[in-house]
């Protein structure tokens, strides 16, 4: 049924439809409204679950680690510094192969402190072993949240659903909220074969020495790689129920004949889609929405890039002293192609800087000036800095 809902409220309702047994969270802007809405659903008796208010994100992650280990469907959400404070536990959760879902309301990282949107928080924990899925709009946020529980429980990997802070979380728009029957038919009750159970004692996260650690880490790597088809089938199966897909691993839009491609993640894809539609026909690009960042769909990406002369990777974070994070990974993945496109790499919209419709044209112009191995920040104004800081 269609509703006009704030993103956070829509995500909270989607989480409730998945019938979590435990939700633990600590509020942080711009995630707050999500957990506030969940706690209200619990208080109003509309969601029967254990809602644990904790004193920090470290504890929030620790509580869901424990609850997931007992076989309870578990959920948490955070942003920015909260994700960083969770970091140690996030690695533990993935390393212990505990299924759960976390919404990351993407926000910039301090210092300087900034509450607005970019992807530096999720990018910083990209090596934690979590699946990371990025949403372009609030419909995708709803549908991806529901899919995330299924992916997580089938793969025994935790899933981070990345939604742009404010741009999605605080935006009211029209969404189709699935009903309980649809979600119940898609998502069976959680049964976890490796759960902690006094009748069948088991140890999790024990000390592993050099003789076996490599194999443990290898198995985590393989589990993520094997999650690729699960992400695709979770989307395809959900589409059979509700009639819409969220984009599997990645989607391609725009004219097939285009020789220039633009790849991005998250809500900027929505703005780029409109910008691409209003470009003159010949200038239109092959627009790629990368939904799965971890596991990284290298093969699907190579297929999507076939025939391109140039690919512009536009990202919302970077690694100081190196350059683009997504751009570096895309370059590595495409190096295996017979005729790889030249990859240009830009960051944009850091710390909530607005990304206007004109960004696409500006990007296409800037790409002409950038060398193949380059990285630039599209909307930086260095002249505003003292000369010694440029």
């Amino acid at each position: 049924m269609l509703h006009a809902l704030e993103g956070s409220q829509a995500i909270a309702q989607a989480v409730a439809l998945c019938r979590p047994a435990v939700v633990a969270a600590y509020p942080i802007t711009p995630q707050t409204h999500i957990v506030e809405n969940i706690s209200k659903l619990v208080a109003d008796g509309k969601l029967k679950c254990e809602f644990v208010s904790v004193e920090s994100e470290f504890s929030a992650a620790s509580v869901v680690l424990g609850s997931a280990a007992t076989g309870a469907r578990s959920y948490t959400a955070s942003s920015s510094q909260g994700i960083l404070l969770m970091a140690e536990v996030l690695f533990d959760i993935a390393g212990m192969r505990l299924p759960m879902v976390l919404t990351c309301a993407n926000r910039a990282i301090s210092a300087p402190i900034n509450i607005w949107n970019d992807h530096q928080d999720a990018m910083t924990v990209r090596d934690s072993g979590w699946i990371q899925l990025y949403c372009a709009d609030n419909q995708e946020a709803i549908d991806t949240t529901i899919q995330a529980f299924r992916i997580s429980e089938r793969t025994e990997l935790p899933v981070m659903v990345c939604v742009d802070g404010f741009v999605l979380t605080h935006t009211l728009e029209v969404v189709d909220m699935p009903n309980a029957e649809q979600v119940d038919s898609y998502l069976p009750p959680f049964t976890f074969k490796n759960k902690l159970d006094p009748k069948h004692p088991l140890s999790l996260g024990t000390l592993v020495g050099p003789e076996y650690y490599t194999e443990a880490r290898y198995s985590l790597h393989r589990a993520l790689e094997k999650a690729l088809p699960e992400i695709e089938s979770a989307d395809a199966d959900w589409a059979k129920i509700c009639g819409r897909a969220s984009g599997g691993l990645l989607t391609v839009d725009g004219p097939e004949s285009a020789s220039v491609g633009v790849l991005a993640m998250g809500s900027v894809v929505s703005t780029l889609t409109e910008a691409n539609e209003i470009l003159p026909g010949k200038k239109r690009v092959r627009l790629m929405k990368l939904r799965a960042f971890r596991p990284f769909p290298a093969e699907a990406l190579r297929q999507a890039c076939a025939g391109l002369k140039e690919l512009i990777v536009l990202e919302r974070a970077f690694s100081p002293g190196c350059g683009g994070i997504l751009g570096t990974e895309v370059r590595a993945a495409l190096a295996g192609m017979a005729k790889p496109p030249a990859v240009r790499n830009f960051a944009v919209g850091l710390g909530g800087r607005d990304i206007p419709l004109g960004t696409l044209s500006k990007l296409l112009d800037a790409a002409k000036a950038q060398g193949n191995e380059g990285f630039s920040i599209l909307d930086v104004e260095p002249e505003r800095l003292p000369p010694e800081d440029r």
Binding site: L2, A4, S267, V268, I355
Partner: protein, 192 residues
């Protein structure tokens, strides 16, 4: 598509106004988008919220740079240069003020419509919050959506006495402003 920018101060119900206006569009079967541009949120600080109303799904998520209409919750905001920035040619400015439209137009050198929103809200609702009054005036001036849609959207957020009084405020404001005064403008500022 019509793009609207709402300027207010923290505590004046700016975001609620944006959400309710978008909600009213939804009640009429339209697509809508509303979001705040959060700054340092505290009472009294200038805040901005954006609304888009369209017949088709809305893809752009950037801030509204060239609004067709400005809703100003507090006349003192007109002294901030950026408030009127980007307003489309023939775009309308609606201001909550005790002055007359003529006085405001003369003072700021461009056409404006004044509404004693705070005063009316204080009298009818008991709180001097102009947001709902401004929405009623805006919809009456433009004819963009029926006031019934605004009432429906409001009744999804509020109930009881607060709702009843606000519904009365909507009617009283609607009866007071010049219906259809901005009808042409609403067509002129619409973008694809």
């Amino acid at each position: 598509m019509i793009e609207i920018r709402i300027h207010g101060r923290g505590g004046q119900g700016n975001v609620v106004a944006a959400y309710v206006l978008a909600g009213a569009a939804f009640e009429e079967g339209k697509r809508c988008q509303a979001f705040p541009n959060f700054g340092a949120e505290r009472r009294g600080a200038p805040v901005v919220a954006f609304v888009r109303i369209s017949e088709k799904p809305i893809l752009r998520r950037c801030q509204v740079e060239a609004p067709g209409f400005l809703l100003i919750q507090d006349e003192s905001l007109l002294h901030i240069p950026s408030v009127m920035e980007g307003l489309k040619e023939k775009g309308g400015i609606l201001v909550n003020s005790l002055k007359s439209s003529e006085e405001l137009t003369k003072e700021y050198g461009r056409p404006m419509v004044a509404l004693a929103g705070s005063q009316m809200a204080a009298e009818i609702v008991g709180k001097p919050l102009a947001n709902v009054a401004l929405l009623s005036a805006f919809l009456t001036l433009t004819g963009l959506l029926p006031l019934e849609a605004l009432k429906k959207a409001l009744s999804k957020r509020f109930r009881g006495e607060v709702l009843e009084k606000n519904l009365k405020l909507i009617d009283e404001v609607g009866a007071q402003v010049a219906a259809g005064l901005w009808k042409k403008e609403a067509k002129h500022v619409a973008c694809a």
